[in-house]
C-alpha cells in the first residue's frame, strides 16, 4: 500500500513538472509574433512633394488649367519575406491657371492602403489597394460655379516590380521599383449641376470603363548612411483621372509628383534585405 502510494505521488509530481515545461497557447502566439517581427522591415514615412497639375473640366469650360504646387505625405511601409504593405496619406495644393490667366486654387488629398504578395519571381508583387482621392478646385471669378470637385473611393489591383542595383562610381546599393494601380470599382461624387456652390452632389458607382483612373509610381530607396537602418526614398508618381458625368460634361486631370521621403526604421528584420 505504502509502495503504491509512493509510486502514485512520484507519477503525479513528474507529470506536473512535464506539463509546466510545455509552452501555453499564449506563449506560442507570442513566439510566432516574434518570429514574424524578425522577418519584418517596418518604416514610418514622411515625405515632401513637388507637383504639376493639368486639368480640363468641361463642367467649367473647355479651357485647360495647369500649374505647379507642392504637398506633404506620411504613412507606414512594411516589407516581409513574402509581402509588402503600405499605408499612405498625401495632400497638397497647386496654383493653376488658364492660358488667359484666370487662376484657380487646386486642393487635393489621397489616402491609400496597399497589400502586395510576392510572386514566384521574387522581383514581382501583385495585390490589392483601397484608395480615396479628393480633388477640389476653387475659381473665385466664376461665382456660383466657383467650386468643382471629384471624390473617388476605389478598390482595385496593384502590381509592383522591384530590383536592387548598385549606382556606379558611388557604389551605393539602392532598391528600385515600379508600381501601378488600376481601380476596378469606384464610388464617384461630382457636382450635380452648374450652380456648384449649392454643394449638391451626384453619386455614381462605376466599374472600369466609364471611370478612367490609374496611378503609376517609379522610385528608389536607399540607406541614408552605411549601417543606418533609416532610408531615403525618391519617387515620381503620375495620377490620372478621366470621368464623364453625362453627354456634355467630362473632367480629365493629371498630376505629376516628385517626392523625397524619409523612411524611419521602426523594426528591422534580421534576415530580410531592405533592398529587396
Amino acid at each position: 500500500m505504502k509502495k503504491a502510494l509512493y509510486f502514485f505521488c512520484l507519477f503525479f509530481a513528474s507529470t506536473s513538472l512535464l506539463a509546466q515545461n510545455e509552452p501555453t497557447k499564449k506563449e506560442q502566439r507570442k513566439q510566432r509574433k516574434q518570429e514574424q517581427l524578425n522577418q519584418t522591415n517596418r518604416y514610418f514615412v514622411l515625405e515632401v512633394l513637388g507637383t504639376y497639375r493639368n486639368v480640363q473640366d468641361l463642367a467649367t469650360s473647355n479651357q485647360i488649367y495647369n500649374g505647379f504646387g507642392g504637398g506633404i505625405g506620411f504613412g507606414g511601409f512594411q516589407m516581409r519575406n513574402n509581402n509588402i504593405q503600405e499605408f499612405r496619406g498625401r495632400g497638397g495644393y497647386n496654383g493653376i491657371s488658364s492660358r488667359a490667366g484666370v487662376s484657380t486654387d487646386d486642393f487635393w488629398g489621397n489616402f491609400s492602403y496597399v497589400y502586395l504578395r510576392k510572386l514566384k519571381n521574387p522581383k514581382f508583387f501583385l495585390g490589392g489597394q483601397a484608395n480615396f482621392l479628393s480633388q477640389v478646385r476653387y475659381t473665385d471669378i466664376l461665382s456660383n460655379s466657383s467650386l468643382h470637385w471629384e471624390l473617388v473611393g476605389s478598390l482595385g489591383i496593384t502590381a509592383r516590380a522591384q530590383s536592387p542595383f548598385t549606382i556606379p562610381l558611388l557604389k551605393k546599393q539602392v532598391a528600385t521599383y515600379a508600381q501601378v494601380y488600376l481601380p476596378l470599382i469606384a464610388y464617384v461624387s461630382r457636382p450635380i449641376y452648374g450652380v456648384t456652390v449649392s454643394g449638391e452632389m451626384e453619386h455614381y458607382v462605376s466599374a472600369l470603363g466609364r471611370l478612367g483612373n490609374t496611378s503609376m509610381e517609379f522610385g528608389m530607396h536607399f540607406p541614408i548612411r552605411k549601417n543606418n537602418a533609416n532610408r531615403l526614398r525618391i519617387s515620381y508618381q503620375w495620377d490620372f483621372l478621366r470621368w464623364r458625368d453625362n453627354e456634355v460634361h467630362k473632367v480629365v486631370t493629371g498630376q505629376h509628383a516628385i517626392s523625397i521621403g524619409l523612411l524611419v526604421s521602426m523594426i528591422q528584420a534580421e534576415n530580410i534585405s531592405p533592398n529587396l
Partner: protein, 344 residues
Amino acid sequence: MRIQHILLFLTPLLFYNCETVFFEEETPFTAQAIFDEAWEFADREYSFFEYKEIDWNAVRAEYDSRIDSVMNREDLFDVIADMLFELRDGHVNLRSSFDRSRNWRWFLDYPPNYNFDVLERNYFKEEQQFVGAFIVHDFEDVGYMHYRSFSSTASEGALNYIMEKFKNHKGIIVDIRDNGGGSSGNVTRIARRFTQESILVGRERYRNGIGHNDFSEWENVRLEPYEPDSDIENDTIAYHFTKPVVLLTNRSCYSAASFFTQYMKALPNVTVMGDWTGGGGGAPTFTELANGWILRVSNTQFESPDGFNIEDGIPPDEQVGLRQEDEIAGIDTILEEALAFLRK
C-alpha cells in the same frame, strides 16, 4: 547598371503631359471661335429657351453674319452682347476687363416706385437703426425693416433683435424695393422667421442635357421655420413673427429678391404690395471663354407650388404705385398703403 534600371529612370519622361491626350481641343483665339463658344455654352446650359419661345439657332444665324476675322475685341464683345440680349434675361451677362453686357429692360421699362430719399428725409428722420444689414424703423404700432441687398449677410443676431423689438406690434413691413438680389442663403435665413411651420414654397429643376427641354425632375422646396440653437435659446425672446406682414416690392427686385418674394408669398400671414418683381428665377452658371471673358447664363427654373414660373416676375397681392404728386410732396404712397393695411 542594367538596361532595365536605365529604362526605369527614363520611363517617367514618357508620362510628361500624357493626360493631355484625353483633353478636348481648346477653343482657338479667334473671333469666330469665341462667338461659337459663347453661343454653344448658352445652348447647352440656358434654361428658358422653351419658356421664352426663343429660336436660338435663328439668333445665331443673325449675329454670326456680323463676325469677321479682323474685328477688334470691343466689336466682338458688342456682337456677343447683342446676341445675348435676345435672351431677355438679367442673369445673362458677358464680362470682360472693359465692359459687362446686360439686359435691364425688366426694370428700365417700368416706373421705379421707390425713392430712398423720401424715406430718409420724411420717414426715418435720422431715427432709424442700423441693425446688421437692415435699416429698422419703429412706427410705434408697426415695425419696418428695409433690406437693400441679399449680398449683405442677414445675421441671426440681427434677426433675433428685430423679432424681439417688434413682437408686440400689429405688423411688420419688410421693404425689399430696389433689392437686386444676392445670396440665396439670406433668402431662407430671413423668410423662416415669419413662419412656425414647414411650408412648401415652390419647386426647382436644372438643365442636365443637350436638349433645350432636358431637365432634372422637379424638386420641392420647403421653408422650415427657424430653430434657435439649444445653447442660446431663451424662452422670453421672440424668434418668429407670425402676425400680419406686408412685403414691399418693385420691378428692381431681381434674382434672390424674387425668390424671397415667392417664399414670403407662400406664407398665409404675408401680403405682397407694390409692383411686380423683375423676375430672375433662374440661378446662373458661369464659364470662362477662351479669351478670359466670363459668361453666365440661367441654368435652373423655379415655380410656385401652383406652377407659376417666376422668371418674368411675381405679381403683388395689392398693386400700388408711387404717385408722382405724392413723391413730390415727400410721401411714399406704397409705404402709406402698407401702414394703413396693417393698422386697419
